[in-house]
Amino acid sequence: MSIDATTRLATEIAPPATAHRRFDVRRIVLDPRRRRGAVSWLVVLLIWQLGASSGGWLAEPLPWIGRLPAPRDVLAAALELGVDPGYWHSWLASGGRVLLGFAAAVLCGVPFSLLLAGSARVRGVAYPVFELLRPVPPLAWVPAAIIFWPTQELSIAFVIFLGAFYPIVLNVLGGARSVDARFLETARSLGASRWSVFRRLLLPAVLPAMAVGMEVGIGITWEVVVAAEMISGGGAGGASASGGGLGFLIWSSYVGGSYPQIIVGMISIGVAGYASSALLRWVGARLTPWRREPAA
């Protein structure tokens, strides 16, 4: 069977070429699978709107749903906030805290976990302490952090650091320890120095695990930021001197009685969290090109 015959047959059978990159809007909108998702959302929004406004058309508002702010009001609040510079300042404030704490977690976590991975002795000594403190939620550290750190910003950053530190360390440790021993032996037998082995074998092997750990860590980071902003705005910190932030926005909307704004805040944080995860996923994919899925 000659090559030419094969290719001829292949082209005869192949359907007309579709440009893979072309953005076919029609195809996306009419895709039955996406339609189902859209249907679900329409149903949810409908139930939400009916339930939230049930006070108006029923004798008594429905339990639970009846207390929600209506989607219409949420939309109105969103438009209001969209033009309010204070709202966008909140984004920056929260984003800045996330960045600071997360960067600290990565910068401390990765070397620490590589150290643990490299030496059984160090691991034997340090890991149990690490493990003991792990179930203590980062937020439980807030009071201690406030006592210790001079400014509130630093204490929030520290708590964020703790939150992201654990998943990063655990994932990188797992990744480093799962490097197939045979790779290491092969490298050594080919004459590589310890440093070479570290740089060219261990580090790349650890990158995927690091990417996963970072993705998990950023999610926790946002949780902690929101909580810290809410707590220091409404509780432990006393009268708020914090620089705002989306968590604070939510809390003050609640305290101030503008309930639709709460939901706008929630959605904003969701978007921010999703965007940062996506960014990290993208970075992770760039760092680990060998893990690209085979096309088709």
């Binding site: 069977m1 090559i3 094969t6 047959l9 292949a10 059978i13 192949a14 085979p294 096309a295 088709a296």
Partner: protein, 278 residues
Amino acid sequence: MTAPDAARGAIRIHDLVKVYPGRDGQVLAVDHCSLDIAAGEICAVVGPSGCGKTTLLAALAGFHGIDSGSIHVDGHLLCGPGKPRAEVGPDRVVVFQNGALFPWKTNLENVAFGPIVQGKMSRREALDKAAALLDEAGLGDALHAFPGETSSGARRRVEIARALMTDPTILLLDEPFRALDALTKSVMHEALLEAHARRPATLFFITHDLNEAVFLGHRVVIMTARPCRPKHILEVDIPPPRTQALVTEPRYRALVQEVAALVHEEARRAFEANDREH
């Protein structure tokens, strides 16, 4: 050489074509392949790697559809014009290359699985029958062990027993003994022949081991390089019983050599085609 009397399981593959979407366009895997397999026959299928044998098996099993041509079993249409994909069913059971015994069930439960889920018999009956089958195969000790605790050779036998429990018309084996060492393999061969003698089903048996193909098969089908179609069909005219003593007989050795030469030709072709593609 005729198979033991069995009226079911005659396969007729006619003009089969199967195309896959590949990385750079469509890939023709099976090209107008036609093959007749008699009821109860052990048909060994050999050929160079990636030539499309497994695609053929998957089409027979109903795991995917075909693009043109047809397959009939005992005169009934399995798949073809108007019905591009066969149904997956207990009349055509597959024994997988990497083993698919459910690790969370004991060997006994695994073997009894088919009749239980088909509702053909009560759980009690199915377990008893499965125990009897495993005892017959000499696996009485492994009844209550999990596959993870069983040796690989025994696992394969359990899997074959599981397949045979449902009394299939056709048994599709995809390189079932590939991962075993030569000693275990020889035991497997005898076990398979015994099982076949007791319950004659048609065996469609893909393998890379040419010795195995000639030892077990009533016929050996040598496939061309991709896209595959039968290049040559060899009748293995060695009467039963086939025992290990066969290995030294001249007739056997001659057949193996013939098969080897044909496969080698196709393997070279595949190799060169690959070379030219890059």
